[in-house]
């Protein structure tokens, strides 16, 4: 045994101690509070998505002729196919929810401020990638709602000034939903976007690692208390626990509220009520409130503002010391987003 280890050590010159030191980042004590683990949660769920996604791809066929049938096969015939599909669906939902909560936590604790502006922007990119993965994944089922959701979604991009038509054509692989569309969505969903997410996550975590986790001090903290604890094994065990809780939650959700099959996509008839996935309710409602171009431009502007918010916030705080503008803006944004989502959820049209 020791010979084998020695043999390996000669060929892979990594020192175990050094490795432990490198990973053993000191973790600020506030991470003992559960809500500060919302960053690790989407990362864990991302791994779940990769695993279940690869499994689903074993049977999924990305062509408009066979897609629905292959999803039906997974759901109804393959052993545990319904379970894996349910886990994939619910992990997606939880992942998006966790990403949003993570972003809110970062925002309200001001953790995006100097020197972490760039990491906020990386996070924004991750958010966009996550939402796009959700959109393309939903379309792959090729049932009525997902088909029409994709059609409407693609047509919305057409309203982007100047580049609209180009974007739509790039997304659909043609002027309308056609034989190439589904394979495009599939490659985006299963290869392009996940790889992008992995790369961005790498940057995201490296930056955290280089800058250290934002340290927060709470009033109830005892003065003499240790300010840090070890990532390994202490925080690692916490993450393991969160992972297990998520797996239990996913299994129960997948069993109790399984992913079902709507009617097969029919390009000749639009269902009476069409809705995107819940995380697009905000944009869907927004589009109904304004003319398409206005809505698209305003949403683009809001997204851009979110992206550069650390810089804007920096400028504000420079001008007015101790300004709490960010809290108020944040509160307003949360209320608006929740309000629009609930509104969309409770009306048919």
């Amino acid at each position: 045994m020791s010979m084998l280890i020695g043999w390996l050590k000669e060929r892979i010159p990594v020192s175990g101690d050094r490795l432990r030191e490198m990973t053993n980042e000191p973790v600020p004590n506030h991470l003992r509070r559960w809500w500060f683990c919302l960053g690790g949660t989407p990362a864990y769920l991302f791994v779940v998505q990769v695993v279940t996604g690869i499994l689903l791809a074993f049977y999924y066929q990305p062509s408009s002729r066979t897609a629905y049938e292959s999803v039906r096969y997974i759901t109804e015939e393959a052993a545990f196919g319904w379970y894996l599909r349910g886990v994939h669906k619910w992990a997606a939902t939880l992942m998006i929810a966790a990403v949003i909560l993570h972003q809110m936590r970062v925002y309200f604790t001001g953790a995006y401020r100097k020197p972490r502006e760039i990491n906020w922007m990386v996070g924004m990119c991750l958010l966009v990638c996550t939402l796009m993965t959700g959109f393309t994944g939903y379309s792959l089922v090729f049932e009525q709602l997902s088909y029409w959701g994709a059609t409407v979604g693609a047509n919305i991009t057409e309203n982007v000034p100047v580049f609209g038509t180009l974007m739509k054509r790039m997304l659909l692989g043609g002027d309308t939903y056609n034989a190439n569309t589904l394979s495009r969505f599939f490659i985006l969903h299963a290869a392009v976007l996940p790889v992008t997410i992995v790369l961005l996550l790498g940057v995201h975590i490296t930056l955290i690692r280089l800058q250290g986790v934002t340290e927060l001090e709470f009033e109830d903290q005892e003065p003499g208390e240790q300010k840090h604890f070890n990532f390994f094994p202490d925080h690692f065990l916490t993450e393991l626990m969160i992972g297990l809780v998520l797996m239990i939650l996913l299994s129960v959700l997948a069993t109790a509220l399984p992913a079902e099959m709507g009617p097969k996509a029919d390009p000749m008839s639009t269902p009476e009520v069409i809705k995107p996935e819940w995380f697009f309710y905000v944009t869907f409602r927004w589009l109904k409130l304004f003319s398409e171009t206005t809505a698209i431009l305003s949403m683009g502007f809001i997204a851009f503002l979110m992206f550069i918010w650390p810089l804007v916030d920096g400028a504000i705080r420079k001008r007015w010391k101790g300004s709490e503008a960010s809290v108020w803006v944040g509160l307003f944004a949360v209320i608006a987003i929740v309000g629009l989502t609930v509104w969309e959820a409770f009306v048919a049209h």
Binding site: F80, D234, L237, T238, L240, M241, L244, M247, S251, A254
Partner: protein, 548 residues
């Protein structure tokens, strides 16, 4: 929280995860069982028919859906297997690389269903098309319509009518049950039928000149004449010389035995004023039991043998066609095999049949015996085997006694006398040979063709109301109140018009008939009879008002 606590918690959560996965496993098992119960067998589309299914699944999804649910589909019998045509068939045409025919005839079905084809071919059903030159057809083509197209006499707003098709009643009425003589449009505007094609025993036409005259569309598909197709009449005369249409009972394209087992299937044709078999069945105890116990009829059974697969109630098919425990489950496609009377003609005949399965009309006993191949008693024995599944022999025999008595009563009291009167009038030249141009001809037709059959059919299948009120009561009224007075009137007019001999001859026949004991009451009154009846009643029930 200490590390140890965390580790213990993780162990517990791991266990909980396992528990949730056990839940998943439980669901999976449940799902598998559910699926096994549903057990829908995969329908393999035969490679030869894949192209048909691909295209027709979009164009005519109903046809494909029906086929998909059929036993044919289960066993891998595809579109081409039935619709294939051979080179030289009059109706064959190229259709996307396959040489096919539109109409699948019994001869085509016989490629696989040989026994059924043969049984059907010598059944009375197969002769259904023979009415094309009969009294019924004369009614539809001449009395109700006109044998040639004629001009309209005033405009029809909203529709341009250039010609009236005088045969419409025959095409849409008679022939939809009895069967049409299938025909193509010819290039000269006529119809090409088997009479022109003269098919040989293999079904192929022997007159190439006639084949050449068949009109075709742009793709080479021969065009059928609308007067003859669509048609699924049971005695259809097909282009290949075969008779009938299997889909008359086994509707295409699912060819469901289930449907053929149910009375409604026969009821497409066996209903109405002249042969209300379906209504009679519905009135009978048999029909009542069927409606009540329908879900116990095991209608989807593979064999559907009475006594083995079901016993709840008999349907038309049960008694006349289906297999049962006493004949080894043998189905027959000749429903006449178990019928001992034919009640179709004016005077009922015993079903003694010759080698061609035709009824023997010979009256000389010795000659008759020699001709008969299958007696009516043998046929009745076959039917009794069915009855015996639910009834004792005494019961069955007594029923047949009741049935025979009613048929004989009708024959002797009304049918034979009526026939004799009609024949005498015709022989004396007091009515024309043309039917339905004189009132008495309608009267006589009503008597035997409608009312007389209702009475006999009612008795044959235990429907008392049809036997009596819709049957014998109306027969009697028709006879005494219409036929006799009309015959007397004809005799009277003949005598006055200088044909005294003819008038006397008719009167003599009527007098002879009415002098018979069963008719005496009509001329002599029946007061005495009423007294006799009253006395008998009093003997049985006591005097009215008196103590019992």
């Amino acid at each position: 929280m200490t590390l140890t606590t965390k580790k213990n918690l993780i162990a517990a959560l791991g266990g909980l995860f396992l528990v949730s996965l056990v839940l998943v496993q439980w669901r999976e098992v449940q799902r598998r069982e559910h699926e096994a119960g549903r057990g829908e067998a995969a329908i393999p589309v035969p490679a030869s028919s894949q192209a048909c299914v691909d295209c027709h699944g979009k164009g005519t999804p109903g046809i494909v859906a029906h086929w998909t649910g059929s036993t044919h589909a289960e066993k891998g019998v595809g579109c081409v297997d039935c619709h294939q045509a051979e080179k030289g068939d009059a109706d064959g045409f190229e259709h996307y690389g396959a040489h096919i025919a539109t109409i699948v005839t019994p001869l085509d079905c016989s490629r696989c269903h040989k026994t059924e084809y043969e049984e059907f071919a010598h059944s009375h059903h197969a002769q259904g098309g023979k009415i094309l030159a009969s009294l019924d057809n004369f009614l539809a083509e001449t009395v109700e319509g006109h044998r040639a197209p004629f001009n309209p006499h005033s405009p029809t707003p909203g529709m341009e009518v250039t010609q009236v098709n005088g045969m419409a009643s025959a095409f849409s009425g008679c022939q939809q049950c009895h069967g049409s003589k299938v025909g193509f449009q010819s290039t000269d505007g006529g119809v090409i039928t088997l009479d022109d094609l003269k098919p040989g025993p293999d079904g192929k036409p022997t007159v190439p000149e006639a084949v050449e005259r068949i009109k075709k569309d742009g793709t080479g598909r021969p065009l059928f004449h609308a007067s003859t197709w669509p048609n699924t009449g049971i005695g259809r005369l097909n282009l290949d010389g075969s008779k009938g249409s299997c889909s008359a009972c086994h509707s295409r394209h699912d060819f469901s035995p289930r449907r053929a087992r149910q009375p409604e299937n026969c009821g497409k044709c066996h209903l109405g004023p002249d042969h209300p078999q379906e209504e009679i069945y519905n009135e009978s105890k048999h029909g009542v039991a069927f409606r009540d116990l329908r879900e116990k009829m095991n209608l989807d059974a593979k064999e559907w043998v009475l006594g083995k697969d079901y016993s709840a109630a008999p349907t038309c098919a049960t008694c006349h066609m289906s297999g049962h425990m006493q004949n080894g489950g043998k189905v027959t496609h000749d429903p006449g095999e178990r019928i001992s009377w034919t009640n179709r003609p004016p005077i009922s005949r015993r079903m003694d049949t010759d080698e061609n399965h035709a009824i023997v009309t010979e009256t000389d006993p010795a000659k008759r015996r020699a001709l008969i191949k299958d007696t009516s008693e043998e046929k009745r024995t076959r039917m009794k085997q069915v009855c015996n599944h639910c009834h004792t022999p005494d019961y069955v025999n007594a029923f047949y006694q009741q049935y025979d008595d009613l048929v004989v009563l009708y024959n002797e009291k009304f049918a034979k006398p009526g026939q004799k009167i009609m024949d005498t009038i015709l022989k004396q030249g007091l009515r024309t040979k043309t039917e339905f141009d004189e009132e008495i001809e309608w009267t006589w037709f009503y008597l035997w063709h409608h009312e007389g059959r209702r009475a006999r059919h009612g008795a044959s299948m235990m429907a008392p109301d049809y036997t009596h009120w819709h049957g014998m009561f109306e027969v009697a009224e028709r006879f005494y109140i219409h036929l006799i007075p009309q015959a007397r009137e004809i005799a009277h007019k003949a005598t006055e018009g200088g044909k005294a001999d003819a008038g006397k001859a008719v009167d003599a026949v009527i007098d002879e008939i009415l002098a018979r004991p069963e008719h005496k009451w009509f001329s002599e009154g029946a007061e005495g009879q009423m007294d006799q009846i009253r006395k008998a009643m009093e003997q049985r029930y006591g005097k009215p008002g008196g103590a019992p």
